[in-house]
Structures are given as structure tokens and as C-alpha cells.
């Protein structure tokens, strides 16, 4: 029952805030923070127990939600190592970000609304994590979309925020279009929505590989939307219109990672899917990772830079899943949740102090805000993947699994991406915290309520990587491979060992790439021995393209959206209005009216004319009657 409480408590918090404490901002925030902390406390004992015994029997609880002949849908929860890891991340990072938000959002007009939405988000996110079947995951999948919509559009008076919210929801919808079709394909192939039952049927080899490939790609569409993979990545950078804690929680640490979580959860499908389908996934991940890293270079808005780096990281994770390294992907997901939440919260702290998002209007903030600066730099180092920070271990695992799967092109892309990541992170750190002073306001360190989460997250960003230390047993990979329904869990083996040996070649290559990135970044942005503007001018076309997001958004807006809206919709409207209504319908009415106009001349209004006609008619009838 306490597992259901994970869903009930945050939902109740959202409802209480909406209906009861709406007018009382402070109280509302306590309700919301309390809810997420309670969730964390519920998860914690399970998590600790799991650390002791990774191969515990998973717990499934469900009730019948919809029962008609031919369709039985349950709402059910599953507790296994995978969901526990994710629950831990969501509730832990969630708690910290809730606490941070209490100060960050202080004095905002929609304070209560903000916390109600956050609670709704926690409810939906936990629903995704706990789901034991496809319908339930889809239900909550959509609900996080709603929460995300509400939070991106938090400043709804701002046109850009209103646009971004709509864009996020619709782009996700396109992904979900594939997702739901994939669910249908799987349902008709296996006759169940339940993950574990489905896994057993697929592992028994009862489903053709063509069907599996199709289903795998369709389901992946859902992940493409939520985890913002190319070509559906366009919503995520715009989503930064939301308040910064939201960016940290939803658009970095948890919701966007839900796509990767879902891929891990449905790992049985991807393990059985044909290689070609997996390659599509891996390459989409690779493209996203590389493209987003490049795009990050062209930005000067601190949140957008981090947003693109998130995109890039998500691409990394997806690439890892694509080459079969689900464990590595999940590992990266976890470390990423810590360091990316940290980076966003740090950015929030900076924005809070400077009242601008533009890094070129900051500079030399280190002396003013030491805690923020130090934690931010730790986060940046973790993100770049410097030994021994958490990012190093997780990135290394991904690169190793790519390398060992033999996709050297993707490996090259991964290494290159790591280098570029180091470059732009160096840029952010150098320009924001060091260099000359360019701010106009009077920045000061943020209050304790904001710095404590930063510090806690920084600690985890540094040490979380040790969870996946190669050679450690049980390590992170063990837990992930013990996911319920997977072949490994089924056989009770330790799947992780075969997957990851520490590969010195990979580690050294990537570290070299990272240091090259840092050095270039240092030369350009700190030492100024390479002139920033000179490069920009030399590659002006490319630089401009980067600033315009490689024109992908333009293409969508001008070609696809405008194409559908201006052409198809207008055409149909034209058919409706002019052809169906004006021509056919009003045409029929017009003809009828004209005939009526002609005939009405016979109506003289003279009573006796009618009488004559009647008598005449009767006479004619009589004559006919007699004659015949």
C-alpha cells in the first residue's frame, strides 16, 4: 500500500493546493515540499534494501482499471531495481529542487500555482517510473507532458513562454503518436500490456522479428519526443522559458530522461529487436549528441547552453541504449540527473543574482558568489567527464559499450562530442565566473535555502560515479541488469560483468578529447590568445547557422507548420466554405428559391381565383373520370 502512497501523496498535494491553500502561498509550498519529501522517505527503505540484495523478487501490485471483453487494462506498480533507482533519483533530486524553489520563486505571483504544478509533475513522473504496463506508462507519460506544459507556460503572459509550452506539448504529441501505435502493435502481437508478461512472450520467441523491429521503432518515437531526440529535439531549448528549477527538475534531471528510462524498462523489446532497428536508435542518439553539442557553442544564454548540453547528454544515453548498453545509459542518466540539476540550479542562482540569462552580461562572479561558483564548477567538471568525477565513469561506460559494439563511427562522434562539451562548458565557467566584470546589478550569494541543495547535489555529482565503478560488485550495472522481466533477471545472473570491462584506450582517448576542449576553451575565453570574434568571422556562415539552430526550427515553422496550416487547412476550409456550403448547399437553396419566385406569381390573393381553380380542377377530374 505504501507504494500507492507514492502516487496518492503528490496528487493529494496538488489537489490540496489547488482547492484549499491556493490563496496562501507559504503554506502551499510547505504542502508541496512535504509531499515530495514523504515520497523520498517512502522510497528510501526500499532503496537501501535493494542495495543489499539486487536480485530481490520484484513487487507488482495492480488493480483492474478497465475490463471489457478483449481488453483488460490494469493500473499497476512494479518495484524492481530499475524503478527503485529512478524513484530514488526523482524523489531525491525532486526534494532538493522543491526546497530550492521555495526561495527561488519567492514573491512570484503564481507561487501556489507553481507548487501545485510541481506536485502534479512528481505524481506523473512517479507514475511513469512505477508503471508495470504500457497503458499506465502512456497515461502518465501524457500527464508529465501536461505538467511540463503548465510549468513551461508558467509565465503565460509572456508570448514566448506561451509559445514554448504549446510547442513542447505538440512536439511530444508527435512522438506519442508513434508510441501509442507501437503499444497497439505490441498488444496485438502479445495480447498483453504488462511488461513482464510481454517480456516472457517475446523471450519465448513468439513474435516475429519484423513486428518487434516495427514496435521497437514506434515505441522509440515516444522516447524521441520526451527525451528530445533529433528530429523532435526542438522543444527542449524553448522549454527554458519556464522557471529555472523547472528546467532543472523536468527538463534536465527527470522528465526528459523518462524516454531513456522507458527504453530501459522495455529493454526486453530492444534486446529482441533486429539489429537494423537498434542502429537507427543508436544513430539518432549519436546525431542528437553531436548536433546539440555544436548548437550549444552558438548560444550565449546560460540556460540554453545547458539545455543543449542536456540534449547532447540525452543523445549519449540513447546512443548507448541503441548499441545495447542499457546499463550504461541508465548509469549516465543517474549521474546526469545530479550534475545537470546542479548546473541548472547553479545557473538559476546566477540568474537570480544578475537578473539576466546572457553570460556576456555576467563575468567575474566568483568573488561574489563563491558557493554557487564552486558547486557550478564541480558540476561542469562532472559534466565534462574529468577523472574521478561522476561523469567520467558514466561517460566512459557509454563510450566503452559503443566501442565494444564495434560502431567506431559512433565512437568517434562520442569522443568528438565530449571534446566540444568540454569546450563550451569551459566557456560558460570562464565567462560567467571569471574574466572581466560586465554585470550591472549588485549580485550577491543566494540564500541558504538555495545553496544547500547546490552543495548536496555537488557532493553527489562528484561521488555518484563510484556506484558504477568497474570491478565493484554489486555495482550499478548489476542493479540495472536485474530489471524485472529481463533475460538476466530471469536467469538470475550478473549480466553486468560481461558488459563492462574498464577500457584504458577508451578512457584515455576521451580524456584527451576533453582536455583539448578545455584548453581551446581556456585559450579563447580566458586567456584570449585566440580571438573569439575572429573565429566567429572566419566561420561566419557556420556560426550564424549555429545561432539559428541550424535552421531546423525555421524549417519546421516555415515549411511543415505553415505548409499544413496555410495549405491543407486552408484548402479544406475553402472546400467547406465555398464548395460545400456556398456552391452546393446554398446553390440548392437558391434554385429552390428561384422556382418558388416564379411560381408565387400564381398566388393572386383573390379568394375567388383559388375557388375557380378548385372548381375547374374538380371539373377536369370529373371529365377524365367520365371519359375513362
Amino acid at each position: 500500500m505504501d507504494i500507492w502512497a507514492l502516487l496518492i501523496v503528490p496528487l493529494a498535494a496538488a489537489l490540496i493546493i489547488t482547492f484549499i491553500t491556493r490563496k496562501r502561498a507559504e503554506l502551499s509550498s510547505y504542502v508541496s515540499v512535504g509531499a515530495v519529501v514523504i515520497c523520498f522517505l517512502i522510497v528510501l527503505p526500499y532503496f537501501v534494501r535493494m542495495l543489499g540484495n539486487p536480485h530481490f523478487e520484484h513487487i507488482e501490485q495492480s488493480f483492474l482499471w478497465l475490463d471489457i471483453p478483449g481488453l483488460m487494462v490494469e493500473m499497476g506498480t512494479i518495484i524492481d531495481p530499475l524503478s527503485l533507482i529512478m524513484l530514488f533519483i526523482v524523489t531525491f533530486v525532486g526534494s532538493l529542487i522543491h526546497i530550492y524553489s521555495r526561495n527561488y520563486m519567492h514573491g512570484e505571483k503564481g507561487y501556489a500555482r507553481f507548487f501545485a504544478s510541481l506536485s502534479l509533475f512528481i505524481f506523473s513522473m512517479l507514475g511513469i517510473v512505477l508503471a508495470n504496463n504500457f497503458i499506465m506508462i502512456f497515461v502518465f507519460w501524457e500527464l508529465v507532458g501536461l505538467a511540463s506544459y503548465l510549468l513551461i507556460g508558467f509565465y503565460f503572459e509572456k508570448p514566448s513562454a506561451a509559445d514554448a509550452a504549446k510547442k513542447a506539448f505538440l512536439v511530444n504529441r508527435i512522438g506519442d503518436f508513434g508510441f501509442i501505435l507501437g503499444i497497439f502493435v505490441l498488444y496485438y502481437a502479445t495480447g498483453t500490456f504488462n511488461f513482464i508478461e510481454m517480456a516472457h512472450i517475446i523471450q519465448a520467441g513468439n513474435v516475429s522479428s519484423g513486428t518487434l523491429g516495427l514496435a521497437a521503432l514506434l515505441i522509440f518515437c515516444g522516447a524521441m519526443g520526451k527525451s528530445a531526440q533529433f528530429p523532435l529535439h526542438v522543444w527542449l531549448p524553448d522549454a527554458m522559458e519556464g522557471p529555472t528549477p523547472v528546467s532543472a527538475l523536468i527538463h534536465a534531471a527527470t522528465m526528459v530522461a523518462a524516454g531513456v528510462y522507458m527504453l530501459a524498462r522495455t529493454g526486453f523489446l530492444y534486446a529482441a529487436a533486429p539489429q537494423e532497428a537498434m542502429m537507427v536508435i543508436a544513430y539518432i542518439g549519436g546525431i542528437t549528441a553531436f548536433m546539440a553539442a555544436l548548437l550549444a557553442l552558438g548560444q550565449s544564454d546560460i540556460k540554453r547552453i545547458i539545455a543543449y548540453s542536456t540534449l547532447s547528454s540525452l543523445g549519449y544515453m540513447v546512443m548507448s541504449v541503441g548499441v545495447g548498453g542499457t546499463g550504461a545509459g541508465m548509469f549516465y542518466l543517474m549521474t546526469h540527473a545530479f550534475f545537470k540539476a546542479l548546473l541548472f540550479l547553479g545557473a538559476g542562482s546566477v540568474i537570480h543574482a544578475c537578473h539576466t540569462n546572457d553570460i556576456w552580461e555576467m563575468g567575474k562572479l566568483y568573488p561574489k558568489m563563491k558557493v554557487t561558483a564552486v558547486t557550478f564548477i564541480l558540476g561542469a567538471l562532472a559534466m565534462m567527464g574529468i577523472f574521478p568525477f561522476s561523469g567520467f565513469w558514466s561517460k566512459d561506460e557509454i563510450l566503452t559499450s559503443v566501442f565494444s559494439s564495434g560502431n567506431y563511427l559512433l565512437f568517434g562522434v562520442g569522443v568528438l562530442t565530449a571534446g566540444i562539451t568540454a569546450l563550451f562548458m569551459t566557456k560558460v565557467v570562464a565567462v560567467t565566473f571569471f574574466g572581466e566584470k560586465r554585470y550591472h546589478s549588485h549580485p550577491h550569494e543566494s540564500p541558504v535555502g538555495m545553496t544547500i541543495p547546490l552543495v548536496v547535489l555537488a557532493i553527489f555529482a562528484v561521488i555518484a560515479g563510484f556506484a558504477g565503478l568497474p570491478g565493484l560488485d554489486p555495482n550499478f550495472g548489476t542493479f540495472v541488469s536485474a530489471v524485472a522481466g529481463s533475460a538476466a533477471a530471469h536467469a538470475g545472473e550478473h549480466g553486468a560483468h560481461a558488459e563492462h570491462h574498464f577500457n584504458y584506450f577508451v578512457a584515455i582517448t576521451s580524456t584527451i578529447a576533453v582536455f583539448i576542449g578545455i584548453i581551446i576553451g581556456w585559450l579563447i575565453y580566458s586567456k584570449k590568445s585566440i580571438d573569439n570574434n575572429a573565429i566567429a568571422e572566419k566561420f561566419s556562415g557556420f556560426y550564424k547557422a549555429l545561432q539559428n539552430r541550424l535552421y531546423i526550427d525555421h524549417f519546421y515553422d516555415r515549411v511543415i507548420v505553415a505548409g499544413i496550416y496555410n495549405n491543407i487547412a486552408r484548402l479544406f476550409n475553402f472546400i467547406e466554405v465555398y464548395i460545400i456550403i456556398h456552391f452546393v448547399l446554398n446553390g440548392i437553396a437558391y434554385v429552390t428559391r428561384q422556382i418558388g419566385k416564379a411560381l408565387r406569381l400564381t398566388i393572386s390573393g383573390q379568394l375567388q381565383h383559388y375557388a375557380f381553380a378548385m372548381v375547374g380542377g374538380v371539373l377536369v377530374l370529373m371529365i377524365i373520370f367520365v371519359l375513362l
Binding site: 398566388i603 393572386s604 390573393g605 383573390q606 379568394l607 375567388q608 375557388a611 375557380f612
Partner: protein, 99 residues
């Protein structure tokens, strides 16, 4: 007196009635002509009833008289109303109900 006599009488009355309806311009006369038509029908009904030894015709006659009475009452009431507003009983002038 055979049935034919009655029928001829009925026919004559009917024709007078139709002619009255068609030709007279005074609406009161038109109404009276209508009554004439009614009664011509009643005569033939009664005659048939007598010669066919059936009660049905007689019953119908009674019905008709009742209906005719009601009709005259309504008709005259309308006429009075029309006269009050239009100050005329000439059918040719009462021709508003046209195109």
C-alpha cells in the same frame, strides 16, 4: 318522389352555391353560398339514408349541421373582425395574402 328528385334538387342547390362562391363579391354572400353547398350535401345524404335504409347518412347530416354551425360562428366572427379593421366586405379588396 324518387331519389333522383332529391339529387336533382341537391345538384341545383350545389350549383347555385358554387356560382355564388365564385361570382359574388360580397363576402357575406360568399359565406352564405358556402352554407348552401353544405346543405345541398346534407339533402343528398339524407335522401340516400332514406332510400338505402341506413342510419349512417342521417348521422352524418347531424354531424354536418353541428360542424356547419361552428364554422359559421367562426366565419362570421372573422368577418366582423375583418370589417372592423378593413371597413369593407368586398372579396376583391381582401387580397393581402399574395406574393
Amino acid at each position: 318522389m324518387t331519389l333522383n328528385h332529391y339529387l336533382i334538387l341537391s345538384f341545383i342547390l350545389f350549383s347555385i352555391g358554387v356560382a355564388g362562391v365564385l361570382l359574388r363579391r360580397n363576402i357575406i354572400i360568399v359565406l352564405m353560398s358556402l352554407e348552401l353547398i353544405f346543405n345541398s350535401v346534407n339533402i343528398s345524404l339524407a335522401a340516400f339514408a332514406y332510400y338505402l335504409k341506413s342510419i349512417t347518412g342521417t348521422v352524418f347530416v347531424v354531424f354536418n349541421i353541428t360542424v356547419a354551425a361552428a364554422e359559421v360562428a367562426i366565419g362570421l366572427a372573422i368577418l366582423v373582425a375583418v370589417y372592423r379593421t378593413r371597413k369593407t366586405v368586398n372579396v376583391e379588396e381582401l387580397k393581402d395574402m399574395r406574393y
